[in-house]
């Protein structure tokens, strides 16, 4: 979906104004720590995957997404997922107290298990059951895809022509994974010249974007 998160090439957002590296803490406030940890810990319940988690943040009104700070968007994301998956109710969130019993069948990791899960990660490489449609060096066009669902095809690249630099193999396809269907598609690194993306542009720069096969079409 072309939500507030789809930011590549947007203008009018002002300077970056980075805090010097040595002066920035990992978390700025305690509530940021808690939102971060709650997001990872509830994710470990296995009720949703990373693409559903991203989609929950992206699905806000764009004005809210842009106005919120980073961890506010994370907070919105877990609240929405907890309700959608039936782990909490809207009433419980509003009242801030338990109304229905917890789901006893869920396995809730303790601290050792949580650290082990973080250290294991979740690789997305999958066995492939077909041949890749594109080869290194092929010219490809990023399709125009106007979906209301989750996608990892940025708007700024849609319609532009680039060149396949590498085939990364078959990886979990976010567009379906975000709807709970884990299936794989070939993932390619595609190189776009700045001129192909922005018309006239800064000289001598290019953008590398990882794109799944369904996002691409042959250029005749």
């Amino acid at each position: 979906m072309k939500g507030g998160h789809d930011l590549g090439g947007r203008q009018g957002l002002g300077p970056i104004s980075p805090v010097p590296e040595a002066e920035e803490p990992v978390f700025h406030t305690d509530w940021e720590r808690r939102v971060f940890a709650m997001t990872l810990a509830t994710g470990m319940l296995g009720q949703w995957n990373i693409d559903e988690s991203r989609f929950a943040r992206e699905s806000q009104h764009p004005a809210d997404y842009l106005r919120n700070s980073y961890y506010e968007n994370w907070l919105v994301g877990i609240q929405n997922l907890l309700v959608k998956k039936g782990l909490l109710t809207e009433g419980e969130l509003a009242a801030a107290c338990m109304i229905t019993d917890g789901a006893e069948e869920l396995r809730v990791p303790n601290s050792e298990e949580a650290i082990k899960i973080l250290g294991t990660g979740g690789p997305t490489l999958m066995p492939s059951d077909g041949e890749p449609e594109f080869s290194v060096g092929d010219a490809v066009r990023a399709k125009k895809i106007h979906t209301k669902g989750h996608s990892r095809l940025p708007t700024y690249v849609q319609g532009s022509v680039g060149e396949i630099e590498e085939n990364y193999g078959c990886h979990v396809y976010p567009d379906k994974n975000s709807a709970g269907e884990r299936s794989g598609e070939f993932l390619y690194r595609v190189r776009f010249s700045s001129a192909s993306l922005w018309g006239s542009s800064e000289d001598n720069s290019e953008v590398l974007i990882d794109l799944w096969q369904p996002y691409l079409e042959n250029v005749e």
Binding site: E24, E32, A37, M38, Q79, L88, A96, S111, G121
Partner: protein, 224 residues
């Protein structure tokens, strides 16, 4: 978050670039987060010890010091560098760095001809296993918007200027591939020990917005 809530949180208008720093936490938001945590604990959906362990892991254990160890080793050890560029996931795993947001790692090398810069325009994808959690600016709308369309101006805002002949390659992390930049080893450090070289390798140099610290800069700070 609803507009009415947000008005109590912080001002955005006329405050570009600073609006997400949150030096003064909005009390309403703090209360909301505390209430959610209490509710999750009460319903048995999270273990409070696990929350603390997760925070401790990313606040104190996993961070850019890991990436600095990787880069300094590659500077002094040609066979490690070769292995790192061929299969970074495997090479850094051997140093003990593997896990969430580092399952499929690539290391991209800066040279005189090519400078690499990493961004995630769609969210905040970042190689946690070697850099920890991303800084606020990396997650900010201006960086995500501009790194792909005007990388040299973005670099200039970090005080980084490259020769016009250097090609800038901007890596937009749209997939679960994670990218770590290997900065060039600064001049005059060829005889330095691996341990001493590590303090030249900043987080920002491994994202690609800055170069590694010069030998002089490191000496001035009296850290190496």
């Amino acid at each position: 978050m609803a507009h009415s809530d947000d008005e109590n949180m912080h001002s955005h208008d006329g405050d570009h670039g600073h609006s997400h720093d949150h030096t003064e936490p909005p009390p309403e938001l703090e209360l909301k987060v505390k209430a959610l945590e209490s509710l999750l604990v009460e319903k048995g959906l999270v273990n409070p010890d696990a929350l603390n362990a997760i925070i401790d892991n990313y606040e104190h254990k996993v961070g850019p010091q890991n990436g600095a160890i990787v880069v300094a080793k590659a500077w002094v050890d040609a066979s490690f560098k070769e292995a790192l560029l061929a299969d970074a996931t495997a090479a850094v795993s051997e140093l003990g760095y593997f896990g969430r947001q580092g399952e499929h790692l690539r290391v991209v090398e800066n040279t005189d001809e090519t400078h690499n810069l990493v961004v995630c325009t769609l969210c905040s994808c970042y190689p946690w296993t070697v850099l920890g959690l991303p800084p606020t600016w990396y997650k900010s709308a201006p960086y995500r918007a501009r790194a792909v369309s005007e990388p040299r101006q973005v670099l200039a805002e970090f005080g980084t200027s490259l020769p016009g002949s250097t090609k800038v390659r901007v890596w937009d992390s749209t997939s679960e591939m994670r990218y770590l930049v290997m900065p060039q080893q600064p001049a005059g450090t060829q005889h330095w020990s691996e341990e001493r070289l590590r303090c030249l390798v900043t987080r920002n140099s491994m994202i690609g917005v800055e170069l590694a610290k010069s030998a002089d800069a490191a000496s001035e700070q009296d850290q190496c």
